[in-house]
């Protein structure tokens, strides 16, 4: 039976949530297309992770070695190369994250196995693997097939599949020998660096007014600050606003910023990229203002307004004033 492998992502002593979304996908490939799921756990001190995954899939391949304590593409790709050549899985899944983006394209170049990144859907069409990717700022879906290969590498966008609930399978854990590395290494892991804590904590705010690239200019930031104050909201933003240094990093909502769960999220001039939306998953009511009726944010919001955000900002200020 053809196999589908899940590469578990973990960092600083915890399995990352995206791994459980891959479990759901692998299970779906099992029930619909008879692929056999297995998990791959690579690292140092990772037996507890392997145990967790063995409750989800029949087999968990564990590669345990001191040299794997910190993730580097160099060592992890060497391990996966070995596993792929010996175990010949048809599909290997990994989250589209800083981990997957660093590892899978490189692994593809080294193994010659085709890789498709950032997929939102994975399925079989007869004997062939087919994926769907969301491109052009989420406005277009692209269906891709592959040149025939012994196996395929796929990274999956967070949120494309629901995370698997706790399971109680009695899967086996297989100790897989760590291959020898071609030292000297070209990469060296030096450590982690936590973002400096800012002056506000947007993750605790019950009401966020969030602005995106639509704010257009640093000169318009005070207008947004003024409105937020009038509304009794805390001001947050999408990434481009932080990249341009118009607001501090502590106000950024999204995968590389903060995860927030306000009772009310009022987004203006934000298109709705998945990295942004992933940061507001647990929010209450979500209102989006965007002048583009096709903006993907309207697929996530509860209420939508197609209008120039500056007009709405002015009107809000007036209404509150009276």
């Amino acid at each position: 039976m053809a196999k589908v492998f899940i590469v578990a992502e973990h960092r600083q002593g915890a399995i990352r949530d995206a791994t459980y979304e891959l479990v759901t996908l692998a299970r779906e490939l099992e029930s619909k297309f008879a692929l056999e799921p297995a998990a791959v756990v690579i690292g140092h001190g990772v037996r507890p992770f392997a145990e967790v995954l063995s409750r989800h899939v029949n087999e968990t391949i564990m590669v345990e070695n001191e040299a794997l304590a910190d993730f580097r593409y160099e060592t992890y790709a060497a391990v996966l190369r070995d596993i792929i050549m010996k175990e010949t899985p048809l599909v290997v899944l990994c989250p589209q994250s800083a981990f997957g983006m660093e590892l899978f394209p490189r692994l593809s170049a080294e193994t010659g196995r085709p890789c498709a990144t950032d997929c939102v859907q994975v399925e079989m069409d007869g004997p062939s693997l087919v994926v769907v990717r969301s491109i052009y700022n989420g406005k277009i879906n692209s269906r891709l097939a592959f040149a025939s290969s012994g196996g395929y590498l796929i990274t999956v966008r967070a949120g494309s599949y629901a995370p698997a609930a706790e399971a109680d399978k009695a899967g086996t854990i297989r100790d897989y020998p760590c291959p020898a590395f071609g030292e000297p290494f070209k990469t060296e892991f030096l450590g982690y660096r936590e973002a400096a804590a800012g002056t506000v904590d947007i993750s605790q705010a019950p009401f966020l007014l969030s602005i995106g690239r639509g704010i257009k200019d640093t000169e318009n930031i005070p207008k947004a600050e003024e409105l937020a104050a009038k509304l009794g909201a805390v001001l947050s933003c999408s990434r481009p606003v932080v990249d341009k240094k118009w607001l501090g990093k502590e106000r950024q909502v999204g995968t590389s910023g903060r995860t927030v769960k306000p009772k009310l999220y009022l987004a203006m001039g934000i298109s709705g990229a998945f990295q942004h939306l992933a940061g507001i998953k647990g929010s209450g009511t979500f209102i989006a203002v965007n002048r583009d009726p096709k903006a993907p944010i309207f697929r996530a919001a509860d209420y939508g307004v197609v209008e120039d955000m500056f007009k709405i900002m002015d009107a809000l200020k007036e209404q509150i004033g009276t």
Partner: protein, 263 residues
């Protein structure tokens, strides 16, 4: 430091209507505004800053047709020393592997210490060209780079992880780095600046010059094959609030009050 920066011209689709071509294999490009890929702009700026601090040369390269020339000139105006165009004709429809193969010819033939590229592009968003190129070359790489500091024969970088966390790595040179947005503040390019580099010669290299055989890149050589493009199916859509701005504002405030906001 000899630095090569890979750049690409892409359409702005965040703030524009995107219409499928009738054949379903692409989008209509006529009405879209094109410019340098956002991530690449940061990569060019970073390369120039490294050069300013450590000396050397910055070369920008694109695989494109003649209408990509303005993007290269813009990079020259920012401070790149040289620009190279790889004739994009044979690369039409290429997947990231084809593009990486084209760039490998340049990177391998000249003694670059660093290749910089954007972490991804705003159109296809594969984020693959950089790390695949590094794999082909056997060089070290880091993706999603948020800072670079050059050391003796090595480079120390930070990579962006999730939730505001970063990791610090040291890489042996030569290396390929893909740059994340926000790494720096790209300098402003004036019309005057572009005028100054107007007559700078930009060599155009054909397939043979980058060491590739005819037919080895382009849509027919793709590993990733586009079956069709489509508009995403309507999922749960937002309830639209309509009216004049004043009416809309009132309704928004009603919701705010309902949710316990000050309003």
């Amino acid at each position: 430091m000899e630095i090569l920066v890979c750049v690409k011209k892409v359409p702005d689709t965040a703030d524009a209507e995107v219409i499928l071509r009738p054949d379903g294999k692409g989008i209509k490009e006529d009405d879209l505004a094109f410019g340098i890929n956002e991530w690449d702009n940061y990569a060019v700026e970073e390369a120039i800053r490294i050069k300013e601090a450590h000396g050397g040369r910055v070369t920008v390269v694109t695989i494109g047709v003649s209408d990509s020339e303005d993007v290269l000139r813009r990079c020259l105006a920012m401070g790149a020393d040289d620009a190279i165009m790889i004739d994009g004709g044979p690369f039409a429809g290429s997947d990231p592997y084809g593009i990486a193969r084209g760039l490998r010819g340049i990177a391998a033939a000249r003694a670059y210490d660093l290749v910089l590229a954007g972490a991804q592009a705003g159109d296809d968003g594969f984020g693959m060209v950089g790390p695949v190129l590094a794999g082909y070359l056997g060089w070290s790489h880091a993706t999603l780079v948020t800072s670079v500091s050059v050391e003796d024969g090595k480079v120390a970088v930070t990579r962006e992880l999730e939730g505001g966390l970063e990791e610090r790595l040291r890489l042996a040179l030569p290396a390929v780095l893909t740059v994340q947005t926000g790494i720096n503040e790209p300098r402003y390019v004036s019309i005057m600046g572009i005028r100054k580099v107007r007559s700078k010669e930009i060599p155009v290299l054909d397939l043979a010059k980058v060491g590739l055989a005819a037919g080895s890149v382009g849509e027919n050589a793709n590993v990733l094959r586009r079956i069709a493009l489509s508009v995403p199916p309507a999922g749960k859509e937002a309830e639209m609030i309509k009216g004049t701005p004043a009416e809309i504002a009132r309704k928004i405030l009603d919701i705010v009050r309902e949710r316990g906001g000050v309003g």
